[in-house]
Amino acid sequence: MRQAQEEHPQDTDKPVASIGRRWGMVVDLDRCTGCQACVVACHAENNIALNLEDVVLQQRAINWIRIERYWEGEYPNVKARFLPMFCQHCNNAPCEPVCPVYATYHNQEGLNVQVYNRCIGTRYCANNCPYHARFFNFWERDLDDTHREYLNPNVTVRTKGIMEKCTFCVQRIRKSEWERRQADEELQDGDVNPACVQACPTDTLVFGNLEDEESRVAKLAQNKRHYRVLEELGTDTNVVYLKKVDPHASETAPAHA
């Protein structure tokens, strides 16, 4: 880390100096159909506990990615709006400075990392996250042999009493890195795809390196429809949303607009 800071002395206002790589995602809301394939893929990839009925009723369901559904307009002209919401991997993350044990911190790749082993479960990070992207393991998981069969061996199974959240499928990033390194190559744009991106049938989610100006994600992030959720809080997120294109906007807009 010290080495990286010496290489990039201009980055002193950033929490951690970057190494020319900042993972980010673009969510094109114009393409999202709210099909929840990303949610299912995330659950399968990341060994997320099953949200059974009683857990949902306790308001303790864990969804690293969720589809927020908003209704717009008055009946009968009601439109459903979908907004996939997950950890925004803020560059200025509210969850990080409140953790007393560095269980969550920013790594050099722009990821907001959760270290399960350090976590003591103060839940302060969850309170401080304006995106409600952090989840707490209220119960110990009840895993029988059948359950164990379908666990992803690359992802830790979390115990009770700790926080968890979207990791941008860091295990996949590491796997792609390793594969490229075996072939003595650099990581290419499009090499890494988190489970949600892979599962998305409409290409809503695009993942990549925001520092690389040639990457698809960096180009999309420059789109004029771009915005960040709760940008006014100054969290400086690595997830960029592209506003939905409304073909009827001119018909329904108020006269003064």
């Binding site: 369901a61 409140v98 044990v101 009770k160 926080m163």
Partner: protein, 455 residues
């Protein structure tokens, strides 16, 4: 102190050592009752640690609940100790004398209980203990000093250390007295504890200097502890918590609940140990006057908190305030305001009521109900409506385990106080005698002059 009856030193010794030397039946009854309630809490805590925080009513988004409310409440109660012993000692308020030790000891025990709740509230308490004490420095990962949760234990342990020193230093002459009045193994124990006190002039001088120094040193802690507790909320990004007046507001609230708790404590001591000659209506009178100021200051801060939210109409904070002012929280809010200001302050306005002990106990209980509700209203509705456009709004209702642990906290402080009163005199005997000596005066014709002049 005009109503102090003339008592001989021997009589004072006998009266104030009575709780240590004699054990009435009611002591055993109370002991059993409190131990039962504490046992209930131990069962609840065992369930909590075994099955995890699932047994509480906490959920997403209400991640903090009764435990944090209780933590803030008990740290608040602990403020009575410094308020009464340090500030009143430095300002030489005579009426503090019979109350100092009880208030200080309550500080120590309520701080310990508060610290316990910090540990219980975490998801992995065993890791929390590991983190707070011998941290694994081997791996080079230090606690993150940016986190208010690191400031918290620093503040609490500073305060706890200071308070224990305070209690102990003031206990030494009384321990020596206990040594002289007991026999056998008790005499040995008190003899060791009193550090060879013989009551010569040099020792008294040192004791006085220690008292003054500790008072002055603990004074900044008085301001800092609850400020830091308030920063747990103030430093967050949660609308309704991210409020700049939280630090002074919490300190004032803490003094209000703490000093009110001292009233209840004084009344219990008075009847339990038959200390009518020492804790007199005039003491309740003085505390009542102090509390008028504190309660009104608290009301002012609470009012400001509302004004800032409702006038600025910043959307997120406005939503939180709106929730606090809509049923069912509206009823709790009204109850809290009545309990904290509208009921007790008019009562404290009248000398007749201030000197009526049952009425003063009533106000003490009412104020503490109000202050507990205040913490509830700060923590729960705020978390329920974190950020107006978020998808995850929720409810919270405490589980039996949480309720049992709240009861446990009260029983625990009471039990520890009871045990303390059995081992040590609850009223500082030497301070009481000192008060008698200060009061001595002689007459020249019609003139009355104090026998001792203070520098």
């Amino acid at each position: 102190m005009h109503e102090r009856p003339r008592l001989t030193p021997i009589q004072i010794n006998r009266d104030l050592m009575r709780s240590v030397v004699e054990t009435p039946m009611v002591f055993y009854v109370l002991l059993l009752l409190l131990m039962g309630l504490v046992g209930l809490g131990v069962v609840a805590a065992t369930l909590l640690v075994t099955y995890g925080l699932g047994v509480t009513g906490l959920n997403h988004p209400v991640f903090w609940g009764f435990f944090i409310i209780n933590f803030v409440f008990w740290v608040g109660i602990s403020h009575a100790g410094t308020m009464i012993s340090a500030i009143l000692r430095l300002t030489s308020a005579e009426w503090r004398r019979p109350v100092v030790r009880a208030a200080e000891v309550m500080t120590v025990f309520s701080l310990m209980t508060a610290a316990l709740f910090v540990v219980l509230h975490t998801g992995r308490p065993w890791r929390t203990l590991y983190w707070a004490f011998p941290y694994d420095f081997v791996r080079g990962i230090w606690p993150d000093v940016r986190s208010p949760l690191v400031w918290d234990p620093s503040a609490i342990f500073t305060y706890l250390t200071g308070s224990i020193l305070f209690v102990y230093a003031a206990l030494i002459p009384d321990l020596a007295l206990a040594r002289d009045q007991t026999t056998g193994w008790r005499r040995t124990v008190y003899g060791v504890l009193c550090l060879g006190w013989r009551g010569n002039a040099r020792q008294w001088k040192l004791l006085n200097a220690t008292g003054l120094l500790l008072s002055a040193l603990i004074l900044p802690v008085f301001v800092s502890v609850h400020s830091i507790v308030s920063w747990d909320f103030g430093m967050s990004l949660v609308p309704g918590w991210h409020v700049h007046i939280f630090a002074p507001y919490f300190v004032v609230g803490a003094v209000l609940s703490g000093v009110a708790a001292v009233i209840a404590l004084m009344a219990v001591m008075r009847s339990l140990f038959r200390l009518h000659d020492y804790i007199r209506p005039e003491h309740f009178d003085m505390i009542g006057r102090l509390l008028i100021v504190v309660a009104l200051a608290w009301a002012y801060f609470y009012f400001l908190d509302f004004v800032f939210a409702l006038i600025s109409k910043e959307e997120a904070e406005y939503q939180v305030m709106k929730l606090r002012l809509s049923p069912p929280y509206l009823y709790l809010f009204l109850l809290m305001v009545v309990c904290n200001v509208f009921l007790p302050v008019p009562i404290w306005m009248f000398r007749r009521f201030r000197r009526n002990i049952p009425i003063m106990i009533f106000t003490a209980v009412v104020v503490n109900i109000g202050m507990w509700l205040e913490r509830f209203l700060i923590i729960i509705p705020t978390l329920q409506r974190r950020h107006p456009d978020a998808f995850a709004w929720g409810d919270y209702s405490a589980s039996l385990v949480e309720i049992a642990l709240v009861i446990f906290s009260f029983a625990n402080v009471a039990l520890l106080l009871l045990l303390f009163s059995k081992i040590f005199p609850v009223i500082p005997i030497w301070e009481e005698k000192e008060g008698h000596i200060w009061k001595r005066e002689f007459r020249i014709g019609k003139l009355r002059l104090p026998a001792i002049v203070r520098e």
